[in-house]
């Protein structure tokens, strides 16, 4: 069962590498922001799988924190791009 977790983690990493193309190449700032948000979601799944591969449940706390920071970061960036500033 350990090898299943290892293979899952490697395949999620390959999917992150595929999404990284859109961050580097993608035209405009919106494509890049969307790709960063999607890489963050994949990273949450990767952290949970790593927590079972190394048998350390502390990775789940990091995954929870990463989910919250990813959500708030994307919302703040969308608001900044929409209005031009954040405090009005």
């Amino acid at each position: 069962m350990i090898s299943v977790f290892l293979i899952t983690g490697i395949l999620i990493s390959i999917a992150i590498g595929l999404s990284l193309y859109r961050v580097i190449k993608g035209p405009g700032v919106f494509n890049r922001t969307a790709a960063v948000n999607i890489i963050g979601t994949k990273t949450i799944a990767l952290l949970v799988v790593m927590g079972y591969y190394f048998e350390r449940p502390y990775f789940f706390d990091i995954a929870l924190l990463y989910a919250m920071i990813n959500f708030v970061g994307t919302l703040v960036f969308a608001k900044y791009l929409e209005r031009g500033n954040l405090w009005s």
């Binding site: 494509n31 999607i38 449940p57 994307t74 608001k79």
Partner: protein, 109 residues
Amino acid sequence: MVLIHIVTTFLLGAGLFFTFVGSIGLLRFPDFYTRLHATGKCDTLGAGLIILGLLIYHFFYYPETPLVPAKLIFLILFIFIANPTATHALMKAAYQMGIKPWRLGEERE
């Protein structure tokens, strides 16, 4: 116990399938809106299925720590609420910035 292995492996495989479909959609679609249409749903479902498979694995192999699955359930609920919200906010910002949707026959970005 073999049945739990099969169920967990199937759920991990389904989550990986949806994750890869979302990544290929992000690479291949011609427009910002269609890219988010592909990835906003596929990625949410992929991460949810992977965490659900590991949750079932945890219930049968580590029954002495029942608080860890609570964290995973909260993680699934948070992803299912937060990820479509972020996608919607980004799409609304792009629409109000004046980015035109792609039409058939135009050059893809």
